[in-house]
C-alpha cells in the first residue's frame, strides 16, 4: 500500500516532515537527538561508524552520516531541527544548508534574504499603525 497523498505534496521544493518521512528516518533522527548530550557527541566523534551501528543507522543513511552529507540526510527524512544538532557544531549553518539546496553560495542566499526586506519601511508607513523606528 502506498502512503496517502497529502494536499501539501505539490508545494515545490518543500519536504513536509510527516509520517511518510519520519517513519523510514526514525533511526537517523534518533541518532541526531542523542547529540543533545555532550557525551554522545564525543562518542560519535570518536568513531562515527560504530555509533551508527549502535544506533541502528544503516545503508544509505549511514553512508550519508559518514560523508557528512547533510543535504542527502534532509532528503532522506532527517528533520531539519534534529539535523541542526549535527551540522551547527561542525560549522554548517541552516543558511549554508539552504544555499546548498538551491545550488548558490551562502552569501547569495543571505543577500536574497536581505532583499526580502527591501522597501519594508515604506510598506509599514503606508499601513500606518506599525512601529517604524
Amino acid at each position: 500500500m502506498n502512503w496517502q497523498k497529502q494536499d501539501y505534496d505539490d508545494i515545490p521544493g518543500t519536504y513536509v516532515f510527516d509520517g511518510q518521512r519520519a517513519h523510514p528516518a526514525y533511526a537517523i533522527n534518533k541518532l541526531l537527538y542523542t547529540f543533545n548530550d555532550e557525551a554522545c557527541r564525543a562518542e560519535f566523534d570518536a568513531d562515527p561508524a560504530a555509533y551508527c551501528d549502535k544506533m541502528g543507522v544503516t545503508g544509505e543513511y549511514k553512508e550519508a552520516v559518514l560523508a557528512q552529507d547533510f543535504l542527502g540526510l534532509l532528503r532522506m527524512g532527517a528533520n531539519i531541527y534534529f539535523l541542526a544538532k549535527m551540522c551547527i557544531p561542525r560549522g554548517v549553518s541552516v543558511q549554508d544548508a539552504g544555499a546548498a539546496f538551491q545550488g548558490i553560495t551562502t552569501e547569495e542566499f543571505q543577500q536574497r534574504l536581505l532583499d526580502k526586506g527591501n522597501g519594508l519601511s515604506d510598506i509599514l508607513a503606508k499601513r500606518g499603525d506599525y512601529w517604524n523606528g
Binding site: 497529502q6 521544493g13 513536509v16 534532509l74 543558511q95 544548508a97 542566499f109 526580502k116 499601513r127 506599525y130
Partner: protein
C-alpha cells in the same frame, strides 16, 4: 481570580538568543529588530505580570519523535533550559506554578482538550528566547512561567482553527482559577520562513502583515486556511504562526492593540511583535 492582562507575540529564532548572549542587540543588523521590542518591555514593566504562559514548539530538546503530543502543558514548579546540541550555556531555570498548571489541565480536559501533562519538561530556545527578548537575562527571572507546547514539527499538526479553540479554552481555564494571579500569554514562533528544501529562504512580507493585522482584530480570518495553504504562503516552518492563535483565543475579542512591530529578515525569518491589552 486569575486575570489575563494581555498577550504578546514574538518569534523565537535561535539567533536572537545568540545576539543577546553576545551583546549584539544594538549592532546594525539587530538594532531595528530589538528596538521594536522596547514598547512591549515598557508595557510589561507597567502591568507587572506574575506569570507568563509561553505557547511554543519544542525543537527536539524535550520531545523526541517517539512520543509527540499535539498539545502538552508543563505541570511542574521548575523548568530547566538545556544544551540543544550546540553546546550553548543554558539560562537560569524558570519557576513554574504547578497548582495553576494542574488547574489548567483539568479545565482543558473538561472542555474536551485532552492535553498531555508533563511533570518534567526541558524548555528550549522556542520558550526561552521570547522571555529573554521581553525581560532581558536574569539569574532570578522576574516572572513565573508555564510552557504550553504545540506540535508544529511532525505532521499532522493541529489546524489554525484548533489552536484558536485551544486558546479560548485556556482563557476559560484561567478565568476560573480562584487565586489572584496576573497572567500574560506569549504566542511565539513564525512568521514566514522555510529552512529546508529548494524553496528555503522564502519570506512573504505581505502575508505576514496580513496575519498580524487579522490575528490582532479578527483572528477567525486565519482559520479559513488549511495547514497546506499556510505552508504554501508562509513556508514549512512558517506554520508556527498558528501558535499565535492560542494566545489570541485566550483574550477578549475586542482586546486593544497597543503595539505592532514587524521586521524582515531576521536570520531566515519574518518577525512580528503584537502587544494586546486585555483589560
Amino acid at each position: 481570580m486569575a486575570k489575563i492582562i494581555g498577550g504578546i507575540t514574538s518569534s523565537h529564532i535561535p539567533a536572537v538568543g545568540n545576539a543577546i548572549s553576545q551583546g549584539l542587540t544594538q549592532e546594525p543588523y539587530w538594532k531595528r529588530f530589538f528596538d521594536g521590542y522596547e514598547p512591549a518591555k515598557d508595557w510589561l514593566k507597567e502591568v507587572k505580570p506574575d506569570l507568563v504562559i509561553v505557547v511554543y514548539n519544542d525543537h527536539g530538546l524535550n520531545f523526541f519523535l517517539d512520543k509527540m503530543p499535539t498539545f502538552a502543558l508543563g505541570c511542574a514548579d521548575i523548568y530547566e533550559n538545556a544544551d540543544e546540541g550546540w553546546g550553548l550555556k543554558p539560562t537560569a531555570p524558570f519557576t513554574g506554578d504547578a497548582k495553576l498548571s494542574w488547574h489548567i489541565a483539568q479545565s482543558l480536559v473538561e472542555q474536551e482538550f485532552d492535553i498531555c501533562t508533563c511533570q518534567e519538561m526541558k524548555v528550549d530556545h522556542g520558550f526561552v528566547n521570547p522571555i529573554r527578548a521581553l525581560f532581558g537575562d536574569h539569574v532570578d527571572w522576574p516572572v513565573k512561567a508555564i510552557p504550553l507546547a504545540v506540535n508544529t514539527v511532525q505532521h499532522p499538526v493541529p489546524s489554525a482553527a484548533r489552536c484558536l479553540k485551544l486558546g479560548r479554552a485556556l482563557g476559560k481555564a484561567l478565568e476560573s482559577y480562584p487565586e489572584d494571579t496576573r497572567v500574560v500569554i506569549l504566542g511565539t514562533g513564525g512568521m514566514s520562513h522555510q529552512l529546508q528544501g529548494e524553496r528555503a529562504g522564502i519570506i512573504d512580507v505581505e502575508f505576514d502583515l496580513e496575519c498580524m493585522d487579522k490575528i490582532a482584530t479578527e483572528p477567525e480570518w486565519m482559520t479559513q486556511f488549511s495547514n497546506a495553504e499556510i505552508i504554501r504562503r508562509a513556508g514549512s516552518e512558517g506554520i508556527e504562526t498558528i501558535m499565535w492563535l492560542v494566545m489570541r483565543g485566550a483574550l477578549k475579542d475586542d482586546a486593544a492593540v497597543l503595539h505592532k512591530h514587524y521586521h524582515a529578515p531576521i536570520s531566515n525569518t519574518g518577525a512580528g511583535v503584537l502587544v494586546l491589552d486585555n483589560q
